[in-house]
């Protein structure tokens, strides 16, 4: 027996699958966004509002990953947007192979921006590259401003942080400045958008950033 030093991350094979998928999607002009958060943070609600607000400016499709149910896909379809429910078969995160399979089964129609609503969990979705061009995470106000300290990887990996349920601020002792400071300490480039998908507060800034990121990506050769 001989010993072979490997020294590779457990996610090494996935990282290469993800890079390949990212390039293929670029050729098809499909902009994929990996949306991550804890369960119940408001992913589906944020997407529903964004789809409605951007009607006429961007056509958005959604892939809803869930352990088993399909209520989220039904909610998106009710808005007239393309959606598909992806069952992860008990797995708590999406990886590049699962994303590829979901895309193959997905009739995206006119949609050029595709959101992947990842499984509700702040841990492992951060470790698995899905092949997305952009990573967005949600932190909802009731979860607390200390989450960057508890789940640093998710904050480090994300391009944008949407802080949702801002309308609930009077009922919680969430310190917005502390949350921002902690997120920025982990990731100085992260863009932060406090919003309420219920009242619409802050939605425009988030949506404008999304459109700008999409345009920039399209111009990139």
């Amino acid at each position: 027996m001989k010993v072979i030093e490997v020294g590779r991350a457990g996610t090494d094979a996935n990282d290469r699958d993800a890079d390949l998928l990212r390039r293929e999607l670029k050729e098809k002009d499909l902009f994929l966004i990996n949306l991550m958060s804890a369960a119940g943070s408001g992913k589906t609600t944020l997407l529903s509002r964004t789809i409605t607000d951007l009607r006429g400016k961007a056509s958005i499709g959604v892939m809803e990953a869930d352990l088993a149910s399909d209520v989220d896909a039904a909610a998106i379809e009710a808005l007239g947007a393309a959606s598909i429910q992806v069952h992860t078969g008990g797995c708590c995160h999406m990886d590049a192979v699962m994303t590829r399979e979901a895309l193959e089964a997905f009739d995206a129609g006119e949609a050029r921006i595709l959101f992947l609503e990842n499984v509700g969990n702040l841990l492992c979705p951060a470790e698995y590259d899905t092949g997305a061009h952009l990573k967005v995470m949600i932190l909802s106000l009731p979860e607390g401003d200390d989450k960057p300290l508890k789940y640093p990887l998710m904050f480090r990996e994300s391009d944008a942080l949407v802080i949702t349920k801002m309308d609930a601020a009077p009922y919680f002792d969430f310190d917005l400045e502390a949350a921002k400071r902690r997120a920025k300490a982990l990731n100085p480039k992260i863009e932060i958008f406090p919003v309420s998908a219920k009242t619409g507060e802050g939605m425009e800034a988030w949506e404008n950033w999304l459109l700008t990121a999409w345009e920039r990506w399209r111009e990139d050769a």
Binding site: M1, V3, I4, T11, G90, L149
Partner: protein, 114 residues
């Protein structure tokens, strides 16, 4: 279960390593697993033993786990402490402005092969 997906990725990476090194049978695999990597040692061993039977390359391979202790750094008093024991509050000064230094890693360290 998280470990299910993890094991499939490890095996795929091992298949690539084997090809690069002209290896057809792996005798053992050593993984480094951080204390707060979210990976449960017993579960990953269970998943390994179940999955390996389906892959000739690793069907006889033993899985060895090398744990990595979790250590947190306090930005206020600039000292380290054991993450699992004290969580996010620094036991030296009580600050909560603390960050994980190590313990979240998950990697394939080495293999033994014929």
């Amino acid at each position: 279960m998280h470990e299910l997906g993890v094991v499939t990725h490890v095996i795929r990476t091992l298949e690539e390593v084997a090809q690069e090194n002209d290896v057809t049978k792996i005798g053992s695999v050593t993984l480094t697993v951080g204390e707060v990597s979210g990976i449960v040692t017993e579960q990953i061993i269970d998943c390994w033993n179940w999955f390996k039977k389906k892959t000739p390359l690793v069907c006889e391979a033993e899985l060895k786990i090398e744990p990595v202790p979790a250590v947190t750094w306090c930005t206020a008093c600039e000292q380290t402490y054991e993450t699992v024991k004290y969580g996010k509050t620094c036991p030296h000064c009580g600050s909560k402005e603390t960050y994980l230094l190590q313990g979240s890693e998950f990697a394939i360290k080495e293999i033994e092969a014929e």
